[in-house]
Symmetry: C3
Subunit: 482 residues, 3 copies
Amino acid sequence: MPQVSIKQYANIKSPKMVFSEDRLFSPMDVERKIARDLYEAVRDMPIISPHGHTDPSWFSENKNFTNATELFLAPDHYVFRMLYSQGIDLDDLCVSSRTGKPPTDPRKAWQTFAKNFYLMRGTASHIWLNHVFAEVFGFDIILDEHSADFYYDAINETLAQDNFKPRALFERFNIEVISTTESPIDELNHHKAILNSGWNGRIISAYRPDNVVDAEHENFYNDLPVFGELSGEDLGDFKSYLRAHQNRRAYFKSTGVTSSDHGHPTAQTADLSGAQADALYQKILTKKHDAKDASLFRAQMLTEFAKMSLEDGLVLQIHAGAYRNHNKKLFDKYGRDKGGDHPSPTDYIYSLKPLLDRFGNEKDLSIILFTLDETTYARELGPMAGHYPALKLGPAWWFNDCPEGMLKFRENITPSAGFYNTIGFNDDTRAFLSIPARHDMARRIDARYLASLVASHRLNMDEAHEIISDLTYKLPKAAYKL
Amino acid sequence: MPQVSIKQYANIKSPKMVFSEDRLFSPMDVERKIARDLYEAVRDMPIISPHGHTDPSWFSENKNFTNATELFLAPDHYVFRMLYSQGIDLDDLCVSSRTGKPPTDPRKAWQTFAKNFYLMRGTASHIWLNHVFAEVFGFDIILDEHSADFYYDAINETLAQDNFKPRALFERFNIEVISTTESPIDELNHHKAILNSGWNGRIISAYRPDNVVDAEHENFYNDLPVFGELSGEDLGDFKSYLRAHQNRRAYFKSTGVTSSDHGHPTAQTADLSGAQADALYQKILTKKHDAKDASLFRAQMLTEFAKMSLEDGLVLQIHAGAYRNHNKKLFDKYGRDKGGDHPSPTDYIYSLKPLLDRFGNEKDLSIILFTLDETTYARELGPMAGHYPALKLGPAWWFNDCPEGMLKFRENITPSAGFYNTIGFNDDTRAFLSIPARHDMARRIDARYLASLVASHRLNMDEAHEIISDLTYKLPKAAYKL
Amino acid sequence: MPQVSIKQYANIKSPKMVFSEDRLFSPMDVERKIARDLYEAVRDMPIISPHGHTDPSWFSENKNFTNATELFLAPDHYVFRMLYSQGIDLDDLCVSSRTGKPPTDPRKAWQTFAKNFYLMRGTASHIWLNHVFAEVFGFDIILDEHSADFYYDAINETLAQDNFKPRALFERFNIEVISTTESPIDELNHHKAILNSGWNGRIISAYRPDNVVDAEHENFYNDLPVFGELSGEDLGDFKSYLRAHQNRRAYFKSTGVTSSDHGHPTAQTADLSGAQADALYQKILTKKHDAKDASLFRAQMLTEFAKMSLEDGLVLQIHAGAYRNHNKKLFDKYGRDKGGDHPSPTDYIYSLKPLLDRFGNEKDLSIILFTLDETTYARELGPMAGHYPALKLGPAWWFNDCPEGMLKFRENITPSAGFYNTIGFNDDTRAFLSIPARHDMARRIDARYLASLVASHRLNMDEAHEIISDLTYKLPKAAYKL
């Protein structure tokens, strides 16, 4: 239990939290023993976090986090979407809207969260949060209405300590490298400040150009001139536009960046001629495009980025299939990333063909695919990654980043793509404190899956040890060229 | 073994039936023990049956059921479809066609069924029927060609007893409330007779207007005038048509009804202007519509019904995605509900958007979604129900209402929607005697799933007990406002 | 360990191979014991191989196989696709291109394979190959870079023995009957030579007319005249074209053939009038068709073949949904069957309706469906096969023919179609030596699945024994009329 604040909370009647050393392993004796053994070998390996959404200013400024609500509740759309689904207003949870922070008392928001924390049972967030509560803060009782204030006070007092500042946590978490995600119009000042600070934590960015690629992005026409300015290009034709990307990629690369990232509604790619591409670009520049044109332009750009990757060596990540901002009223009031995003059925076999016809056989190209559509694991992604030299598969993403989803990923992908066309784990999170919890879950589930193969005599222990060590450390480092 | 008839069947060589107290639990020791404990806590809870297709006349007239064939075989499309798939004629199973009952001897039909009962192995019906045979009638040998006559005679003698009349069974089954399903042109006379009978069994209806909403329904143009007459509306324009629904809903509500139900080929919704909707309605009234118009009208009506639900408080059920009457020749000869219905790929993320844009954020609206397309559990339904306040998920439906399907439902839905955006179990059956068997299966599978979470240290026993009790009793009562 | 060559390889440091008698069973004690018992009852049953791609000349000529590379590596696209995905050139694996064999030393290719054999971990090929290495050749160490030469020499020496000739292996493998697959322009000379040879191994063909049905097949216009000649038809109109098929089917049937097989990109069927079909045929004959016409013609032909099957009794197999030759550059250089094939989302419920409207209720017709789209198991194929008398389901195919895929097949199909609308196992392979390994895997997984039903008290052991024996032997013989 946390030492701080404990006296005033002597008689809390919340039940004990479950937090077993064997959590998430198969409860079957023979498998659990194997899983323990495999997990033990990788539990203390450094964390490689090659894709995520932490805020680089945390590490450049190294200020203390403020309070439990600001850290755990207000920014975590995994959590507040579930509360929202049960009729709780986002305002009551301190979630910012387009007009700013609501005037909600953060303690009151925390109490609402605590009282409804039972709604998270069975979800990945339930595991991550309990992990953080137990491992980082030392709680051993459940978060509920009775323990709400105790949690709130204890967390806040802990967060105020020097050894809970971002850099101290980064080191305590044994993170070897972490990648944030920035747009081409970001100057990466925080990253540069970190580089120049003398601190040797490795914080790099990833090149995420959606805001200057997707004509339907709300910031597209605002950001495009800035993009031109920063890249020294007039953007008058498609060639200049491509050069602008090349320039900004080179700038990103100069700060240590090794990857680009592309969040598209679909996996559609295209391979237009230069003239066709330029004509399309002009339509978009002059706002004479329709939805189909915007889609085709995004599709063409994936192929262009593959070409650039071949040239500059950045690894190409495709995060396809999120139907973002599905809840119109919520989006209008609260803006992006407020829980109104959902998976959508996503095609890969037809969509990626234009790109693969050009570059699929390139050994030196590394395209990492992610999907929200788990029905494509066995049907399309496994077989494709198990054939094309340029394709690798990112781990179970977002809604699938839960024990069930991770197991499905391995069970559906491995038969056709094996282990070595996958790239280990991504935490993909903005919840910094949950990073060890997420990597721990991934290691446990890999151990569980491998244990099932060993226990059914498909692998021996040496093979399983080699694989889990590769999945934990070698593969992500190699796949992202870290 | 049944006491009746037993002497004449002393030497039947059919093997013993399997009917273990641990059936359907995980055979893994640690999980089975937990599951037993959880199941024990809910096994005797009253049955809440908020959606189904029992015949209200059974309870108003309270006559004895006639014989085994009429009770178990002729009306159960789960059973006779399987026999039909192996080349057995429906006529030989006493299934009624459009021209009425075939002249088949019911005993002979039963013998055919018994001889082929092995075809049901591995299906849910195999479990349900064995449960009924063992628990309701006391059989302990398998139904096969050797035991066919013994079963037939013993069941018929039992059914003739007073304590096997519908009301007696209702009470013995510990049913707290059951909902049947009727169309707007039904006067609910049986329900009213029950209400006035002094018997305190709670039998309510649900408002199922497909026959006056779906212009492709074979009874649409016959039923529409009756609908107008009963509602006191001339149905001359869309407004009058909507008022007719409001009137009939009010009438249904006055008899205790708490829900409407909509069985649509897709989940398509629409949000037309008043003028557009009226124009579409006129096309349909005058039979100038095509298939697309009929589909759009159904889509628009789902949104209209959501609006009515907000006003009158009826819970809105959507059963989407059945491709009904797929077997043309069978439909032509035998009519509806003869096993020729199949699941079809069903979209929710695009289809529901028009309705959700209007009403998705309404906390006081309760839309319960069902699907036959289990690939949408993790990809669409879980994430959507885990976000929209108006959405809840009904249990695994029809072809998915089997141990495997129920487990998939929990494993795929819980990570994104938790337990509390689901609504417990529906038996959805016209097979009255199987109702306890179906609820028993649901309770066992929930116990099994929760046991797996406890055994992998994701929940403690107190949490699991609270959840299974909520799933069994509290959630269905609350979701259906019972 | 192989006796040959062993002396010179005394000090190989490769680890021991895992090859347990309990492999692939559930590691759960109670289930494993049941599975062992069930498997034991069928392990030595004869192999029925009613669909596959072995080369009939092996059995007519009965020559020794040449070397390990030619036998295991160069022809096995399951294996070399995985190696290719990791950047290894097909030329380095002795894979033939359109211009013939590459000048690669087969031993060197084998070494490359051995060094990268770890890539296959977790795949079905890993199990099959280890089975062959252990059972057929007696290896007990893993294939890796250290054991590469030992394996190569020992395999080659073994293959040179008389008792490793194709017919000897056929007998040793206890194969009762095997079907190859030939096109209508094949004269089946090898099959006839076998029939006339006095050897009593039963090697039959299957009628696979894709090359004279699919206008998009690269050989269509070359093969059509040969087809006309062999069938004695001028092919001038659709009726003559149909007669040509009837003639060739009759010829195939006269050599013992019992089935036709159709590998279509989709499951689309059509039911055109005679005039429409003839007009379409003329378009194709005169190369005035487009892709849609080619597709419609294939669709129509499935219905025509169903009609022929009703007449001549050949079982109709449909292998739908492979996107073949997806990798354009690879196809251009290496041709067909080089690993560039992938599953694609495949519809059945709409696609098969035209055919089923005509013939779905025919008890004497046997259509065996295969899919690469495992999302259709529970949603479409199980329910359809559990209703239509004419439909049966083939086993998990190709990418799904792995322990995970086979289990998914049973778990998703059985609840709606039971066991008796499935037809047992197909190995579907050109890898002759792996046939016992593949059937062994299928028997083990069926035992595993049945054990799970017995252990959760859904079946008794007698029922499970009857089922596994039917799945192994009776059902495939009956389904293929062997």
